[in-house]
Amino acid sequence: MSLKDEAPKETLDTLGRVCPYPLLLTKKALEKLQSGAMLKVLCDAPASAEDSIPRYCEKNGFGFESVKLEDKGYWELYIKKK
C-alpha cells in the first residue's frame, strides 16, 4: 500500500503561503505528530513541494510521496513520520 492510500492523521493547507512557510509549517506539524502518523500537506509552491520539503523528509528518514494535481495547480504531499 502506498502512503497516499493511508488515512492522514492531519491535513495541512499551505496554499498561497510564501516561502519558507510551507516548509516551516510542515516541520512544525510533524514535530507535534507521533511517530508512524501520517501528515497530508497541500502545497502550491513548486520549490517547497518538489525541493525543500522532500529534502527535509529524506534527511529525517520520513516516508514521502507526492501527487501533482496539474489541473488544480498544486501538490498533495504524503509524509509519514518515522
Binding site: L15, V18, C19, P20, K27, D44, P46, A47
Partner: protein
C-alpha cells in the same frame, strides 16, 4: 536596425534562459543559505558552489582569451568595506523576510506568485530610497571609504596575494571538489533538475551573460539585479534607464532609453513563466495579508542592503565573486551572516519557544 534587434533579443534571451533554469532547478540562494542551519542540508548550497566554480573558470577564461570586447576586462566592483559588510548583512536579512533572493523573487513572479511581485516592488522602492531619496545620506556615508591596492586599483584576491589569478582559481576549485563530491553529483534526478545540473546550468548562463553583456551591452558587467532592476523600472516610469554608459550600453526605442541589463530583468520572469507553464505549475497565488506586508518590507530591506553593498546575491554573490574582487567576497560572507541571523530569529527560535 540589425544591431538594435540583437541588442533587444540578446538581453531578453539571457534573462529568459536564466529564469527558465532557475525555475527548473528550484534555485534560490536564500534557500541555499537558509537550509544549512534550518534543516542541516547542503544540497542547494552545493548547487550554488558548483555554479560559482563554473562561472569563475568561465568568466576568467573569457577575459584571458580576449572575448570580452570593450575594456576587455571583467567589471570588478570597488572595495567599500563598510558598505559591503553592512549592506550585505542587511540584504541577507531582507531575503529571509521577502521569501527569496534577488533572482528568486524575480523568477517566482513568472510562477504567478503575487507575493514575489510585491517583493520586487519593495526591492525597487528600497533601492531608490537609498540611492536617491531619504536614505541617500546613509548610503553616501557608508560608501565614502574606498580601499585601493596601490594608487587606484580595485583589490582582488589575486592582486592582494600577489599571485596569478589562476593560482587562486585552482585553489578554490580544488577546495570545492570534496564538498561537491559529497553530494553525489553524478546521480540521476528522480524528476526535474538534479542539484548538479541546476548548478552547472546557472553557472553556464552566467558565463554567457558576461560575454553577451560585453558583446551587446558594451561592457562585461555580467548578470546582476540591483542596478538592472532600477534601470528597468526607471525606463518604464521615467522613460530613461539612467544607466551609466561606462557600465552598460542603452538604446532608444519607442522614445524610451533602455539599458541592455534592464532587458534581461524582463526576460527572467518570462523564462520562468515558460518553464512553469510547460510543467503545468503556473498559478496565480495570493498569500494572507500579513505575509504580503512582510514580503513588501523584506523587499524594501533587500533594496536598502543591495544598494549600499553594491549588489544582491547575483551581482555580488555570484557574478562579483567570480571576478575575485574583494568587495564581492566580503559582501557575500555578510549576506550569509545576515541570512543566518534572520533565519535564527524568524524561523528557528520561535519553534523552540
Amino acid at each position: 536596425m540589425g544591431s538594435m534587434f540583437g541588442f533587444i533579443l540578446s538581453g531578453l534571451l539571457v534573462g529568459a534562459a536564466f529564469g527558465f533554469v532557475l525555475q527548473r532547478g528550484r534555485y534560490c540562494v536564500n534557500t541555499a543559505f537558509r537550509d544549512v542551519i534550518f534543516i542541516n542540508d547542503f544540497t542547494l548550497l552545493r548547487a550554488y558552489v558548483l555554479g560559482l566554480v563554473t562561472l569563475i573558470i568561465g568568466a576568467n577564461f573569457l577575459e584571458d582569451v580576449g572575448w570580452l570586447g570593450g575594456s576587455g576586462q571583467l567589471y570588478r566592483q570597488a572595495f567599500v568595506p563598510w558598505a559591503n559588510a553592512i549592506g550585505g548583512y542587511i540584504f541577507g536579512m531582507g531575503i529571509v523576510l521577502a521569501g527569496g533572493c534577488g533572482s528568486g523573487i524575480l523568477y517566482r513572479v513568472g510562477e504567478g506568485l503575487l507575493a514575489a511581485l510585491v517583493a520586487v516592488f519593495g526591492f525597487f522602492f528600497g533601492i531608490m530610497t537609498t540611492k536617491a531619496g531619504l536614505l541617500k545620506p546613509l548610503y553616501e556615508a557608508l560608501t565614502a571609504k574606498v580601499v585601493y591596492v596601490g594608487e587606484d586599483t580595485t583589490p582582488t584576491l589575486f592582486n592582494m596575494l600577489g599571485v596569478n589569478k589562476w593560482v587562486v582559481i585552482a585553489v578554490l576549485t580544488v577546495a570545492a571538489v570534496p564538498f561537491l563530491l559529497k553530494g553525489t553529483p553524478f546521480k540521476k534526478a528522480k524528476k526535474g533538475y538534479y542539484w548538479s545540473t541546476a548548478g552547472l546550468l546557472v553557472g553556464l548562463v552566467a558565463v554567457i551573460a558576461f560575454w553577451a553583456s560585453a558583446h551587446f551591452g558594451g561592457n562585461a558587467r555580467g548578470l546582476s539585479f540591483t542596478g538592472p532592476l532600477r534601470e528597468f523600472f526607471l525606463a518604464v516610469t521615467m522613460g530613461d534607464s539612467q544607466a551609466s554608459p561606462s557600465l552598460i550600453k542603452s538604446v532608444t526605442m519607442l522614445g524610451i532609453n533602455v539599458s541592455w541589463s534592464s532587458l534581461y530583468v524582463l526576460g527572467v520572469p518570462l523564462g520562468a513563466y515558460i518553464s512553469a507553464k510547460l510543467l503545468k505549475e503556473f498559478k496565480l497565488k495570493v498569500p494572507p495579508a500579513n505575509e504580503l506586508l512582510r514580503v513588501l518590507a523584506g523587499g524594501f530591506v533587500m533594496g536598502l542592503g543591495a544598494q549600499i553593498s553594491g549588489g544582491c546575491n547575483i551581482g555580488q554573490g555570484f557574478t562579483g565573486v567570480s571576478t575575485l574582487a574583494v568587495s564581492s567576497w566580503v559582501t557575500t560572507v555578510f549576506i550569509l551572516l545576515g541570512n543566518w541571523t534572520m533565519v535564527y530569529f524568524l524561523l528557528i527560535k520561535p519553534m523552540r519557544d
